[in-house]
């Protein structure tokens, strides 16, 4: 696991949890449930995390988490444009997971259902909001994604803006279900350059993480 990924992954494989697991093996009768989850909660709190969701995501979850995020920010008296900037990055990241996660299930349960596995984490760090999304991607898609992210990282504010204008007038890429604009929109609303990382899982898949500060 790379260093950046370790830093980004809020649920740890952290020392506390490993410690708990060892204790559990040594003394199976110990009341560990609350302690175990309290450690996870503490780990999230220590990292300044406001919300974290890991599991199967859907458009419905996007909507509900998005509402909660906006309400939380409104209670903290963030102004409308700031709330919308954070919300915008959140929506684009969630929709990227929903559309492009390599771990999906779909079917019908009375209505069409499509669920994509991934995680989204929102927190505060050095006075800025950060949003991290993580999901499985196919190794074959990694080079192209890297290339696009590196291109965005190499652009300054004006460069991002003209790239957006150019892509706004293009037809979407093959295989893209939305607009090719999503990542540019994210980079545009970010206050610092975006951070990304990949962690190889096996011959076919990697775990992809994108961290954006707003």
């Amino acid at each position: 696991m790379s260093r950046l990924f370790k830093r980004l992954w809020p649920f740890g494989l952290g020392s506390e949890i490993v410690g708990v697991c060892q204790a559990l093996t040594e003394n199976p009768a110990a009341p560990m449930l609350a302690q175990q989850y309290a450690a996870i909660k503490r780990d999230l709190d220590d990292k300044g995390i406001l919300f974290s969701f890991s599991g199967y995501l859907s458009e419905g979850i996007l909507y509900s988490l998005g509402e909660a995020l906006r309400e939380k920010m409104a209670l903290e008296e963030a102004d409308g444009p700031t709330i919308r900037r954070v919300f915008s990055v959140f929506v684009e990241q969630m929709q990227n997971i929903i559309r492009y996660s390599a771990e999906k299930m779909s079917g019908r349960a009375g209505h069409p259902v499509e669920l994509s596995a991934g995680m989204v984490t929102i927190g505060m760090e050095d006075g800025k909001v950060f949003i991290v999304c993580g999901n499985t991607v196919r190794n074959g898609d990694v080079p192209r994604l890297k290339q696009r992210l590196d291109h965005l990282k190499s652009l300054d504010r004006n460069g991002i803006k003209s790239y957006y204008r150019e892509q706004l007038r293009e037809d979407p890429d093959d295989g893209s279900r939305g607009a090719t604009l999503g990542l540019i929109e994210i980079a545009r609303r970010a206050s610092d350059p975006i951070d990304y990382d990949f962690d190889a899982m096996d011959a076919d898949r990697s775990f992809f993480c994108l961290k954006v500060r707003v």
């Binding site: 409308g80 444009p81 709330i83 919308r84």
Partner: protein, 132 residues
Amino acid sequence: MDSLIIPATGRTPGVSFDFVGGHLRMTGESYPDDVAGFFGPVFDALRGYLSCPDGGPIRFDMELLYFNSSSAKALMNILQMLETVAKAGRPVTLTWCVEENDESMRELGEDFAEDLRHVVFRMREIPAGGGP
């Protein structure tokens, strides 16, 4: 021709296209779970209206407070349709409403207006607090 009225929901915009009066308006926020499903009927109605030869002036008020990147593409399509009829001589005015201090939306307005040559583009500031 009938008007196209679609009430706003939490994530789809309010559409109020008064084709008789030539006044088109979009309000609220746009990040539908199915962009093509939402905008398809809007495009169809607009295409039908723009192909009618009456040629009266058109006023389009863009009052969205937020739209996602997929909706941006859809909005661009709408503006391109309007630019085409404006180029053919029909007067079209686009008013891009921006909540005060919303620099992102102001910049987006400039992005969208960049290659409008025949549509008259106006930026209008509205007071803050119009929505979340």
